[in-house]
């Protein structure tokens, strides 16, 4: 067996141990090293595939005990106050938690292409009337049982994160400061738009721009 055949065999099934392969590995240090690397990679792949894509990242904080304790406390508050206050506060907290779980989004500096933006918007029932020359990050993220576009927009004052939240309705504009971030959630025709920054980006201006640029498709599921 040649090194090329050995690597093909290992790459196709890192856990395989065919006799012919084992004989080759006894004599070839570099292929042994390759198999060790591929087995490490395989462990990572299996871990990565343990959960469906995206959904696990939001599940971590949705059901944490703190949320249960908070819900008990909220039950003691007057019903009207609960309905008025709880959804928006919780939404802001979850938005911050979601962004904290994707720290690499702030690091992106290169502009993403239009295809990546379309991919991020797909399934969210929105279109974006904006050129891609300001967007450095675009992902479709699982958030509150829906896919939502997660964008990072580069502004003169620094990056601003935008989550387009179809199905998450807020009555009024709400500013928040949490987890080292400041931001705003603004109402939109069929949901809301959250804009966050860790620095000096003008979230109000970005939110206003997004309210103009986002088109909400009527027939989205």
């Amino acid at each position: 067996m040649s090194c090329e055949q050995a690597r093909l065999t290992i790459g196709a099934d890192p856990e395989g141990s065919a006799p012919e392969l084992e004989r080759h590995l006894q004599e070839c240090e570099s292929c042994r090293q390759f198999r060790a690397e591929m087995r490490t990679l395989e462990a990572h792949i299996r871990r990565a595939l343990e959960r469906p894509p995206e959904s696990a990242r939001t599940a971590r904080f949705t059901w944490r005990p703190l949320a249960l304790a908070a819900s008990v406390l909220l039950a003691m508050v007057a019903v009207l106050a609960v309905w008025v206050l709880r959804p928006s506060d919780t939404l802001a907290r979850e938005v911050v938690a979601h962004v904290q779980e994707e720290p690499e989004s702030w690091l992106a500096r290169q502009n993403v292409d239009a295809q990546s933006i379309d991919e991020a918007l797909r399934g969210a029932g929105v279109k974006l009337d904006i050129t891609s020359d300001r967007i450095s990050y675009a992902q479709s993220c699982w958030f509150r049982d829906h896919y939502v576009p997660h964008l990072v927009v580069q502004t003169a004052q620094g990056p601003a994160t935008v989550l387009i939240l179809r199905n998450q309705h807020v009555r009024t504009r709400r500013s928040f400061h949490e987890g080292g971030m400041s931001g705003v959630i603004v109402p939109a025709p069929q949901g809301s738009i959250a804009v966050l920054t860790r620095g000096g980006a003008d979230t109000a201006a970005v939110a206003a721009q997004m309210q103009q640029d986002v088109r909400w498709l009527p027939d989205a599921s």
């Binding site: 090329e4 790459g11 890192p14 894509p53 797909r122 699982w142």
Partner: protein, 160 residues
């Protein structure tokens, strides 16, 4: 069983709602053709192949857009590798972006437990072609775990 099917369909379709549709339709098809399942022990593999075929049918019908992995590979930075959770997130993203011809055999092998020969039969490919695709799938993912990509193999991909 259903969560397994849904996870498999979700990784194939890369869309939760589509995956739900695929699994629902697959279970209906399975129910209609339940008499063809002779070995109850093979039910899981049987259902997974139905899900895969249903996804393939849907893909052909709707011409679902695919995402090129190459651009994603180029855009990843070493900084993401520093954090273990970041590693996993990046790898999951990379798997999502694998072209279907690489993602499909990888999912059949890792999630479905299918052998190379079984994958070849299911995908109507030669065993060599399946080996090559599995090798290339993992080789593309090496970059996302801080490993240099290995030289490509030269085995040809030919239909049986």
């Amino acid at each position: 069983m259903r969560p397994d099917l849904l996870r498999f369909a979700h990784w194939l379709a890369r869309d939760r709602a589509l995956a739900e549709d695929i699994v629902q339709e697959s279970l209906l098809r399975a129910w209609r053709s339940r008499d063809t399942l002779k070995d109850q022990g093979a039910a899981r593999a049987w259902l997974l192949t139905i899900v895969r075929r249903e996804h393939a049918r849907l893909y052909e019908r709707k011409r679902l857009e695919l995402v090129s992995l190459d651009e994603a590979l180029e855009s990843q930075t070493a900084a993401k590798m520093a954090d273990p959770d970041g590693d996993l997130f990046t790898l999951r993203n990379a798997i999502m972006r694998l072209p279907i011809e690489y993602r499909e055999p990888l999912l059949l092998q890792v999630l479905g437990g299918f052998s190379t020969e079984e994958i070849a039969r299911e995908l109507a490919l030669s065993t060599t072609a399946v080996l090559t695709r599995l090798f290339r799938a993992r080789n593309k993912l090496r970059t996302f775990c801080g490993m240099a990509p290995a030289p490509d193999v030269v085995a040809s991909e030919a239909a049986p």
